[in-house]
């Protein structure tokens, strides 16, 4: 049975309100300051037109929407050179700290430097797991690749980050995301 316009609108509003904050935060990590709302608005417009394609379950729907936001960002970058991945930015590390925070700040400075040396492909693979908190299956959906391919990419990204940090050996017990 086909969906009535009112039902369709109600479904979209529920999706919008459930995922808006996550999408804005997702975009804030990937576009210059002040552009996240516009990027998300463009992505939601696409979702409104493709509502029948949105997965029924919220976690999968959210990942699908993340993918739309990512494609929106990629489209905005295309022109001179086609990009395959969206770089992820980090907050600036504060340089004023209490003595107790010195170790954390030092670690963050190292991380920020190492992060800048990562490729965009590795940045987004790591960010999806560590910052966006997505399980592998949903992160893979965002990137449009299989879960296996994502886990391989994530493993390589972790190794690359470790290499750029230039320190600690790999812990044997390190746990992969589910």
């Amino acid at each position: 049975m086909s969906e009535q316009p009112e039902q369709r609108e109600a479904r979209f509003v529920a999706l919008y309100e459930a995922t808006y904050a996550d999408l804005v935060r997702f975009a804030q990590r990937r576009v210059p300051e002040g552009q996240a709302d516009d990027t998300v608005a463009e992505a939601f417009l696409a979702a409104w037109r493709r509502l029948d394609d949105v997965p029924a379950q919220l976690p999968q729907a959210r990942a699908w929407l993340f993918g739309i936001v990512r494609n929106t960002i990629l489209n905005s970058h295309r022109g001179v050179r086609r990009q395959q991945a969206v770089a992820v930015r980090l907050a600036e590390v504060t340089t004023t700290w209490l003595p107790d925070d010195a170790e954390l700040v030092a670690r963050q400075v190292d991380l920020a430097r190492a992060w800048e040396q990562l490729s965009a492909v590795h940045q987004e693979a790591l960010a999806l797991a560590v910052i966006d908190d997505l399980p592998s299956r949903e992160a893979a959906a965002v990137l449009g690749i299989t879960s296996v391919a994502y886990r391989i990419r994530l493993s390589r990204a972790r190794n690359a980050l470790r290499g750029h940090l230039g320190h600690r050996p790999t812990p044997v017990t390190e746990r992969q995301p589910s």
């Binding site: 608005a41 939601f44 022109g79 980090l90 963050q108 991380l111 600690r168």
Partner: protein, 252 residues
């Protein structure tokens, strides 16, 4: 590495509190809901019968041209201004998305293009998409009344070599019909020395074009040039050195 990942998470630049019920979020939601969700994706926006409306009155350099006339009748262009205005972020996002969507039915496609110009006069916006390669395209859409949305678009197969003091039109002419009124527009490429362009309309006075990123665009309500009795279209241009000149807008 666990400590590193915790530290990495602490460097998250995203805002902790984002409210989907904020005025901005709700305004964006309302604008989206006001659009027709069914067009553009499942059925082509530009339909062949509407093409007949413009044949004979518009001249284009293009590989493709499509037109979708307004539904709102004679007041469709109320609020038009002789100088262009910018778009709000929401209007910009929707206008650009709408333009890309509209041009999907044309060849060559606009996929991978960048926004070169987005200007608004009243309810209507002109968006020019640059590239990829040498393909440029533009469209005009109603960014205020989504229930009365309409527009047209065209795509040029090649980006021509434009002299620094030269203006070449990708499209110029009138569109529309008796029932809905006409729009006359000129859109194209402006040389690197050109920083301003005005057109003197016999009915509207001086019309200021948008000149940006190597492109120019302006439009006026009504039927002013184009058609079978084609006459040269004159414009006043301002060069980078401050001098001005009268030029003829040439169709590429």
């Amino acid at each position: 590495m666990k400590d590193d990942y915790a530290a990495l998470k602490a460097l998250d630049p995203a805002t902790a509190e984002v409210d989907p019920h904020s005025p901005r979020a709700q305004a964006s939601l309302e604008r989206i809901l006001a659009t027709d969700p069914s067009y553009g994706v499942r059925r082509p926006r530009f339909r062949r019968p509407l093409m007949r409306v413009v044949v004979g009155v518009a001249a284009v350099t293009v590989a493709a041209l499509a037109v979708f006339v307004p539904r709102s009748g004679g007041d469709a262009y109320a609020g038009w201004t002789s100088a262009p205005f910018g778009l709000s972020p929401e209007e910009y996002a929707i206008g650009v998305a709408d333009c890309r969507q509209s041009l999907q039915s044309l060849q060559p496609p606009s996929e991978g293009s960048e926004v070169a110009v987005a200007e608004r006069r009243g309810k209507w916006a002109i968006v020019i998409l640059k590239g990829p390669g040498k393909v440029d395209s533009f469209c005009m859409t109603n960014v205020v009344e989504y229930d009365k949305r309409s527009g047209f678009g065209s795509a040029a197969p090649t980006h021509p070599a434009v002299g620094p003091r030269e203006v070449l039109a990708l499209q110029m002419g009138a569109y529309g019909g008796k029932e809905v009124g006409y729009v006359t527009s000129a859109v194209g490429w402006a040389g690197s020395d050109i920083v301003g362009l005005t057109y003197t309309s016999p009915t509207r006075g001086i019309v200021k074009a948008t000149v940006k990123n190597g492109f120019f665009a302006f439009w006026v309500p009504g039927q002013e040039f184009g058609g079978p009795d084609w006459k040269p279209v004159l414009a006043q241009v301002q060069y980078r050195d401050g001098t001005t000149a009268e030029i003829t807008i040439l169709l590429s």
